[in-house]
């Protein structure tokens, strides 16, 4: 059973890159702004279908939700623009490695801002050094 979940998590990574690469291609043959628009509209239509097919009733009480919680969608629109622009130029691997690095390091920083210092800051710093090393490796001339 665990193997099943492992496969799903790995498959999720595959979905992520598939999506970004397709958007990157669309950005190349059209432009990155259009790619973000198409990505969100098609994703939205797809999720509408999923929701219609799912047996659970779908109720959202919008009055409960603070406006700031809706900002994620706006950030996502910008994310797809810039990621689709860069990906075809740098390649899927390098773009992914750089995005992951930015993601991991900024989440360590936000965690510290939100929750204070982690249990083992030295382990985290070592982790960050390894990640920076991984990026640095890409820029050493062969």
């Amino acid at each position: 059973m665990l193997l099943f979940f492992v496969m799903i998590a790995l498959g999720n990574g595959l979905c992520i890159i598939l999506s970004r690469t397709i958007n990157g291609r669309l950005a190349q043959v059209s432009n990155a702004f259009y790619a973000s628009l198409v990505n969100h509209v098609i994703g939205f239509i797809f999720l509408c279908i999923i929701i219609l097919l799912s047996p659970t009733t779908f109720v959202i009480d919008l009055t409960n939700i603070p406006l700031i919680a809706l900002l994620g969608g706006v950030i996502g629109a910008f994310f797809v623009v810039i990621n689709s622009y860069v990906l075809p130029l740098l390649g899927a691997t390098l773009t992914t490695i750089l995005a992951i690095s930015g993601q991991v390091i900024s989440s360590v920083v936000t965690d510290i801002i939100q929750h204070g210092l982690p249990n083992n800051i030295y382990l985290q710093i070592l982790g960050i050094i390894l990640i920076l090393g991984a990026i640095g490796l890409r820029y050493i001339k062969k």
Binding site: L2, F5, A9, L10, G11, G13, C15, I16, I17, T21, I22, N23, R25, L26, Q28, S30, N31, F33, A35, S36, L37, H40, I42, G43, F44, F46, I51, F58, L70, L71, G72, G73, V74, I75, A77, F79, I82, N83, A92, T93, T95, T96, I97, L98, A99, I100, Q103, S106, N119, I121, L123, G127, I128, I129, L130, I131, G133, A134, L137, R138
Partner: protein, 151 residues
């Protein structure tokens, strides 16, 4: 080389945006379910992307390569993208938990990226997998695991 650095900085910035986006969407999920949150975010994202697109169209001189025909599969990037939210909801609530899910998702991403670059899939420029790629992946994953362990 200078252009490469700029592009790299943009790629790193996109990762920072991902952090903010995931933080915000998780916050949204506390009011709804992950599926509902994803639906709302995609809806809001569509509106935002539309506005950005309209503004960008006006500002930039349209260097339109209208002669190029857009393959139909180029329009379906949003579908695997929408799937990720659902798949993540499954694994995060499994014995893998959040940290296990994250490490496996990162692994899946990098391996997929390497294979697609190697083969030149979906219009990518072919970039052969090298020893250096292997070392980068090991360092990146090790670093991510240490950060998760240090929490």
């Amino acid at each position: 080389m200078k252009k490469d650095i700029t592009l790299s900085m943009i790629a790193v910035l996109s990762g920072v945006l991902l952090t903010l986006m995931i933080m915000n969407n998780s916050y949204l999920s506390t009011f709804t379910s992950p599926l509902q949150a994803s639906w709302i975010t995609h809806g809001i994202g569509s509106v935002a992307a539309f506005l950005i697109w309209v503004i960008a169209r006006r500002k930039t001189i349209r260097a339109d390569n209208g002669s190029k025909k857009i393959p139909i599969w180029c329009y379906f990037g949003g579908i695997p993208g929408a799937f990720t939210v659902l798949l993540a909801a499954i694994t995060v609530n499994s014995p893998l938990s959040l940290s296990g899910s994250i490490v496996l998702m990162l692994t899946g991403q990098i391996v997929t990226g390497l294979v697609m670059d190697h083969v030149g899939l979906l219009g990518l420029t072919k970039r052969k997998i090298t020893m250096r790629d292997g070392l980068t992946v090991v360092l990146l994953l090790l670093g991510s695991i240490l950060i998760i362990m240090g929490r």
